[in-house]
Amino acid sequence: MLTEFETRLLGLMMMVIMLGMGASLTFKDFRIAFRKPQGILVGLLCQYGIMPFLGYALAVVLGLPPALAIGLILMGCMPGGTTSNIFAYFSKGALALSIMMTVCSTLVAVAMVPLLLEFYSQMKGLPSEYAVPAGNVAQVLVVLIVPTLIGIALRKWNPNVGATIELLGGALGIFVILFLVATWVPRNHMLLATTPWQVYAAAIGLGLVGMLIGYLLSKGLRQDDRRSRTIALETGIQNGPLAVLIVLLTFSGEMQQQVLLIPVLYSLFIVLSSSAVTVWFRRITTREELARDGAKVPTGLAPAAS
């Protein structure tokens, strides 16, 4: 686990990153995100409909022992992680939509997370009392919203300052992603050697399969390609630190260590898989941009009969 100091440092860096993300936006971007408000609803559906069920299903299919199953289901029930916004930014996705989705899923987390946990725990016959720290959820919101708003305001005040902060935020975002991976490995490398393959499959699969289903569902619900990619990332990326915190508050001793395993593994692999997916999505978006750039005027004629 991260030390208290590292956690604070990470929180601070996250605020600077969100400041940068905010500086890349205008209120217009949020209004564009709200032009198709279904996007946010689709996101919520993915976040609290699909992901918890996916966690449950994976636990059943892979035959995970109860403690690990709890960890996986818990991970599935989490709101969107704040790192999803960094990935949305770098994949040239609809950043405003991503932020709105993170905010909304975090807002409803206080009510939804205990409810879902109770529901799925009962189905697996597991203990169903969880402590969801409302204070921490509020903290997530503050770290997300306040810097974003300041970023937007800074850019409006002076685009030079805005662009500089955006660049700093982006650079720091890459740094944090590397930092997360780099600090994880020396701390937890023992885990990697001793963990059975089912646990790997669960920890990696939750994120990747979540992205895939999120994408397909968004496409099915008529979101455009770029929004669908944004929702896919948002769906797959869960708030890992919040899951860890809930485990720490709810369990103790040996049980705590076991339940923690999947959230900890997930937190590593989601960064790696999201990075790969982001590079891929960015290429697609760039290709689409260039295609749009050269696209011709719609003729309004039916294609020639052939």
Binding site: T26, K28, D29, R31, I32, R35, R155, P159, N160, G162, A163, T164, E166, L167, E289, L290, R292, D293, G294, A295, K296, V297, P298, T299, G300, L301, A302, P303, A304, A305, S306
Partner: protein, 579 residues
């Protein structure tokens, strides 16, 4: 009066002028561009004249007073420090950035001749243009200065001044942009040509200005309306690039003419004009740069409008009231959600030139922005504006509009005789904006300007209200078994296919029919067959107009502003036949 000349001599377009457009063109209020620019600078001192807006929103600005002072310093640098004579040619080769107006205005104030040069030229093209114009100094952007390495010694250039895209930006944004260009985009190659940086040249000029108490206005005391101001190179139609000689009078008249067509929508000191087209191109040079400078507008310079996202921050951050563009630019904008969802609120007018504006693009633009795109027509050889659709009054789709004040236009046949109303003929122009000729090419000049009329090489038709419509380029016309085929007509028909992204049509020699129609098609998706294209053509075209051969391509050769180059396709075809 010659009877057949009547439809044109009567100038039926004058009734479309309404009460906003003056019928007569007053002589220019200034005797030189230098005086014009100086007066505008003095009038609007503290207003922002230019803002360069980068794709990430970083920006730098110059006020009218700063532009005035810097361009004065640059004029002194050219004349006093490096010792150029009046009338010396100075080439400028850079994308839109703050250094452009400083250099261009400095050259004009020095009484020298500005040679606009496309920054994307190859070293061979640069060498041709520098030698042909006899340029003695060059202001070039650092991004392309490496292209000088092999050619500089073979030109007459004795001083190279290097500018940069974020020139005049404040320190941090400038450092960030240069860092990104150097390390991330890798667009700042090292170069070996001996040079001086623009700020150093300005400092030397300013020092000399103060030390020797130079009156910069004296440099242009002998400059009059007939003095050469700009050599504007054009590939024209024949391929070899030649310099159109535009005088101070040509340009001053033409900016007055352009202004006359739009003045109902121009409020001095309050306009913000988006300049996404390159300033080295005559359209943006006269229209955006010169005309709007005179009315105290703020010019938003975008170094590159491709991809079109590069314009998003400009639209987000500035209250754009005027925009000039070409068909492809307007079309690309309307493919962006950020533009269509929240179109610019303060936009008053948009003007299109350079290439034909498609009907569908004009319609969609009006629906989205609530303003109309006024289409105009011009040539490098006419500074450039000849015709425009009036911003107020009737605009006709697919029409280039009516002649601007002080301009006579006729349509003539091969013998040079005016054709009857409604018939197609070559468009010829007379007016104060018509160039003095091609630089050092009297033969070419004599072929283009005959008895005071500029022969444009464009075939057009005039309607009874005096609106003109371009049919095609004269030399692109295809003669199939004695019938005239206009490539535009065939291209328009093929472009109607949704499976077709772009198309170009040329005539090629044919044993049976003399010439045959050949189409080059860029398909929108795979699997398009030539038979499908031909079948489609037969629905719209008579048999002899349907292409004999259809060749599929991945892309088509284009000019910097996106006009498809049929002549390159022809040359390619001829070369392949010769081989």
């Amino acid at each position: 009066m010659n009877e057949t000349a009547a439809p044109y001599s009567l100038q039926p377009w004058l009734s479309a002028y309404g009460d906003q457009i003056p019928r007569d063109l007053a002589p220019p209020a200034h005797s030189s561009l230098a005086a014009y620019l100086r007066d505008a600078s003095r009038e609007h001192t503290t207003r922002t004249a230019f803002t360069t807006c980068m794709p990430n929103g970083m920006h730098g600005s110059l006020t009218y007073a700063q532009v005035d002072a810097y361009s004065d310093a640059f004029a002194v640098y050219l004349r006093q420090v490096i010792g150029l004579a009046a009338g010396a040619r100075v080439a400028v080769q850079m994308p839109n950035c703050l250094a452009y107006p400083v250099a261009a205005f400095g050259i004009l104030k020095a009484g020298c001749v500005l040679v606009n040069t496309n920054p994307l030229y190859t070293p061979a093209e640069m060498e041709h243009q520098f030698r042909d114009s006899g340029a003695e100094a060059l202001v070039i952007v650092d991004m392309f200065a490496d292209k000088l390495d092999g050619i500089l010694a073979r030109t007459g250039i004795r001083k190279v001044i290097v500018a940069e895209v974020p020139q005049f930006f404040s320190a941090i944004p400038r450092a960030v942009i240069r860092g990104v260009m150097k390390w991330w985009n890798r667009t700042l190659p090292p170069f070996t040509a001996p040079h001086i940086r623009l700020p150093a040249a300005l400092a030397e000029g300013e020092a000399a200005l103060k030390r020797d108490r130079i009156d910069v206005a004296a440099y242009t005391r002998d400059v009059g309306l007939d003095s050469l101001a700009v050599l504007q190179y054009t590939g024209g139609t024949t391929g070899v690039s030649k310099g159109a000689m535009l005088s101070h009078g040509n340009l001053l008249n033409n900016l007055d003419q352009a202004f006359a067509m739009g003045r109902s929508h121009i409020e001095p000191g309050r306009e913000v004009v988006l300049t996404a087209l390159p300033l080295y191109h005559i359209f943006a040079f006269t229209f955006n740069l010169l005309a709007f400078y005179g009315v105290g507008a703020r010019n938003i310079l975008v170094p590159s409008p491709r991809p079109i996202q590069n314009l998003q921050r400009a639209f987000d951050n500035y209250r754009i009231t005027w925009v000039s563009g070409v068909n492809t630019l307007f079309n690309a904008l309307m493919n962006e959600e950020w533009f269509t969802a929240f179109p610019p609120k303060h936009l008053k007018a948009a003007v299109a030139g350079g290439a034909a504006l498609q009907h569908a693009v004009a319609d969609r633009w009006q629906k989205i922005t609530g303003t109309r795109i006024a289409e105009g027509y011009g040539l490098t050889e006419s500074s450039p504006v000849v015709c425009f659709n009036p911003i107020t009054g009737t605009q006709k789709p697919d029409s280039i509009g009516i002649p601007v004040p002080g301009t006579a236009v006729r349509l003539v046949n091969d013998a040079g005789e005016p054709v009857a109303l409604g018939e197609a003929g070559e468009l010829i122009v007379q007016g104060p904006q018509v160039m003095q000729g091609y630089w050092n090419r009297p033969d070419e000049t004599a072929r283009t300007i005959k008895a005071g009329w500029l022969y444009t090489g464009d075939i057009a038709v005039m309607d009874s209200e005096g609106y003109f419509r371009i049919v095609d380029r004269k030399k692109d016309m295809i003669l199939v078994s004695g019938f005239n085929v206009y490539p535009n007509e065939v291209e328009d028909a093929i472009a109607k296919m949704d499976d077709v992204l772009e198309v170009a049509v040329i005539g090629v020699p044919d044993e049976r029919s003399g010439e045959a129609v050949r189409a080059f098609v860029v398909p929108q998706r795979d699997g398009l067959t030539d038979e499908a294209v031909r079948r489609h053509c037969r629905r719209y075209l008579t048999d002899y107009k349907v292409p004999r051969v259809i060749e599929f391509r991945k892309e088509l050769p284009k000019t910097p502003i996106g006009k498809i180059l049929r002549k390159d396709l022809k040359a390619e075809f001829n070369a392949s036949k010769a081989a």
